[in-house]
């Protein structure tokens, strides 16, 4: 498939008339000559949103089998893009082939997971309370299900050019919920975005769906994103990116005449707690695994372990020394964009110059590449200056030495909301674990033991979310089947004739959806 640099507005491809930009080759930070991408203008945003609004009623009322088939077809068409997709993504992001092939598999499989969810009807959450004409007062028939909220704006993330981008988790869950999607492509991988966008656009056409089910807009700046979030047809926003970006979208959404929800996944330092038993039993292995996790993919994961907490002592010092050796051996890494590299360097500079911070190790240096960094602070200093615990996106991590267990708890009480918190613990740490878990639960969407948080499984039980500021809305997840709930709202029908009801709600259950009926899960005694 050709990359043309055009906007995809419903079924059309159209050269943008906004500011022109080129993709950047992440390996050398040089522009990729062809094609030139042009930003969208306000009227393009309007056209895409109006088409999405028009498409909504037809798309949301499609038979489940048809919507599921469309999602499956999106997956197949992304796979069919073949090697050119992977190669373009490699050039635009600097991520290695194996990682991008894995990400493509994940992207396709999460579209298919949502297709099965749609087929099952489980996300409709059907609840029926049949009429009780004899009761005083009589009860009329009540039937509950969940429908899509309306068109959704999705902002592609820079660090997952496939799985959190044009056809990533936000788009897949919104489409599964019956919501048309308008994507603002991330300017760091516009060609990758266009290829995937064209695959979806073709799937829309092949299924005979209204063209407004999907649009893709470019913009190297913020105007298109702002206009999207302000457009009255847009009913929810999915975003993965920086805290500043997420907060800006939240403000815009709250200031609308009709405020809308923003699901922004923004920042997390993913604290790891090195408990005494674990440090004593396997400190050396832990140090090695930690360094590998922190520098994996040049540290460009939302779940990168950025804060390692332990109680002062020999075992912690040994861990620090072992980890420092590993970090020193880390190769200089290619980052996603020159902007991300600059932000990383500024962040590390801020920390290493801080009088309370000790630099334990720096990795190899190379021009235009990121140099890994392992830093150390005391818990007391961190408690006194929360900025020491702020996310620096990239291959760095901060060891935090706590004077004792009570200081460890004090840090947990003080830290902000996180995507993940990890416990490294042995059986003999059980008492301490029990005092820590309630604190941890209040601060994180995912609680791990004896592993590292990088690597997010796509399944029913995943939570990729967490209290603010990890996300804008800790009641949600952006990964896994529960992600669909973000884009659904409940509707109840009272006393409607069976023939007027949506099929999923009819008494005879022609679609065989799982239901709660008269207060019980159907089939239950």
């Amino acid at each position: 498939m050709q990359i043309t640099g055009e906007l995809l507005i419903g079924g059309r491809a159209k050269r943008g008339e906004g500011v022109a930009f080129r993709a950047i080759d992440a390996a050398n930070n040089e522009p990729i000559e062809q094609p030139v991408f042009h930003g969208a203008l306000d009227r393009d945003v309007e056209a895409a949103c109006d088409l999405a609004d028009e498409a909504f009623d037809i798309y949301r009322t499609l038979p489940a089998a048809k919507r599921a088939q469309f999602l499956d077809d999106c997956a197949a068409r992304i796979e069919a893009l073949g090697d050119p997709l992977v190669e373009r993504a490699m050039a635009e992001t600097g991520l290695p082939r194996a990682r991008l092939e894995g990400e493509r598999t994940r992207t396709a499989s999460q579209l298919r997971m949502f297709a099965s969810l749609v087929r099952s009807g489980d996300s409709l959450d059907v609840r029926i309370e049949p009429a009780l004409p004899e009761r005083q007062p009589p009860r009329t028939d009540l039937r509950f299900w969940r429908i899509g909220v309306g068109p959704v704006a999705v902002f592609g993330a820079s660090n997952f050019p496939l799985a959190f981008s044009v056809a990533g988790g936000d788009t897949a869950s919104a489409l599964a919920a019956g919501c048309p999607v308008v994507v603002k492509a991330h300017p760091a991988h516009p060609g990758t975005s266009e290829l995937v966008g064209r695959a979806i656009q073709q799937a829309v056409a092949a299924a005979g769906l209204p063209e407004g089910v999907f649009s893709l807009l470019f913009d190297a700046g913020h105007d298109v994103g702002s206009a999207l979030v302000r457009h009255p047809a847009i009913r929810a926003v999915g975003f993965t990116g920086s805290r500043a970006g997420g907060l800006a979208l939240m403000k815009l959404a709250a200031a609308r005449a009709e405020p809308i929800p923003v699901y922004a996944e923004m920042s997390s330092v993913n604290p790891n707690l090195l408990l005494p038993g674990a440090l004593a039993a396997r400190g050396e292995t832990l140090a090695r695994e930690f360094a590998a996790s922190a520098t994996l993919g040049c540290g460009q994961f939302c779940t990168n372990p950025g804060l390692m907490l332990g109680v002062a002592g020999e075992a912690f010092d040994a861990f620090a020394a072992n980890a420092a050796r590993e970090f020193s051996a880390a190769a200089a890494g290619v980052m996603l964009t020159p902007g991300i590299l600059r932000a990383y360097e500024l962040g590390i500079d801020r920390l290493t110059r801080h009088p309370k911070v000790t630099t334990l190790a720096r990795g190899a240096a190379a021009p235009g590449r990121a140099q890994a960094a392992l830093l150390r602070v005391s818990a007391g200093d961190l408690l006194a200056d929360a900025a020491l615990g702020e996310e620096v996106f990239g291959p760095s991590s901060v060891l935090v030495e706590c004077a004792n267990e009570s200081e460890l708890r004090a840090v947990l009480r003080k830290i902000e909301g996180q995507l993940t918190i990890t416990l490294h613990a042995q059986a003999e740490d059980a008492d301490l674990v029990r005092t820590l878990l309630p604190l941890i639960e209040r601060k994180a969407g995912r609680v791990l033991a004896n592993g590292f948080p990088t690597g997010v499984e796509v399944c029913d039980a995943m939570v990729h979310g967490g209290p603010f500021p990890a996300t804008s809305d800790g009641r949600s997840t952006s990964v896994g089947t529960a992600a669909i709930e973000r884009f659904l709202r409940p509707v109840c029908y009272q006393n409607l004739a069976d023939a007027w009801l949506p099929e999923a709600l009819r008494e005879a259950n022609p679609l065989h959806v799982r239901r709660r009926y008269a207060g019980k899960a159907e089939g239950q005694q």
Copy 2:
């Protein structure tokens, strides 16, 4: 039980030091001499919120049976308040005995409904993905459930002094979710609030729960409410009241360093669509039932039918004439507060003076009482001036004459989000119904046929919610079991030792909760 006018801060009763106020006897708008209530000060808000925060970890990790028992006990203690509660509520609100006795039953039964929900474990939404060590890459064990978001601020509503007030749906669902509650009492029924608050306070003590599980604060103004919503320990807000009030809380919550969700149920005109078949077959009955519903409880229901849409013609004119006769015969009604009466009179005044509005009927007049009003406008004029369709809280309704079916659809497209939309339709209206339902679904939380929206059943299938501005968050309901979801957030545990997991998540399922296991509802093939 004595009414003292004191604040209930955790286990204490304390005389407030803020501005003093008295309850007003709704029947004659005279102050009720005893007791004097005193508003809370900022330090009282802080004390209540800090106690709530301290109570959270213990309260949320209580065994389900214990939390359920506490909710049941709250219900029993409210019932045990006996006639003095009903009499005080009658005096403070002007609502009749039968209505308040019914409301007390509903209040107790919804506490018991949430107790059973807690016992069932269904709201935990347990999902387990067991480890797949053989898979490449291997999957570690993942377990998902939902826990409380943290302390919740609840604002009592004026129009349901029991069921939407101190121990109403918001409080019951938040407590069921494991969240401590700080209630800001509605100043229109402070004595009723104190009685119910003391019952809950005693239930907290009797169960040996941390005192911060419940507090009750008074304030005749807005300072306490604002301070509550701004307090960092508060993690969500439940509110039923005016649009101005709800919007103000939304703004405050969005402006916090850590924004929190506000569930505000704000305003709705609950359009009723009188389809031609229904009007022809039973226009006279409909007019009678409509007038009864619109003037019930002096029109002080969130689901009052405020907008009646029909297609111009003889049948519609006859409906208007019949309804006018009914409205003319309506007695002057006691409203909840002098402020609500004044707002009603101003709203009706604004409409009756509008050049495009015809006054079809006024009910009986009496000093200090509300006079029912039936008005009429053309759909064209309504489309040109949306203010004609804004809620006037009280015993009034506006008939909207549409030139044809297409104008009826145009009005549906234009109106704001609603709690309910009702269809009055016969079998012969089926074709029209089918074109209207998709429009209606986008605008309402509950869709009724051939009934009136007043009367909200408390059950699994109810939605008392709807798109903005009916509520601040159309993804939720404030009535029924689904209301608990507002105060829950998902947490995933990865690779935790079975003994460290909450009981509800352990492999052997000791609490016998319903689970999704390995992608299937347990018990399913």
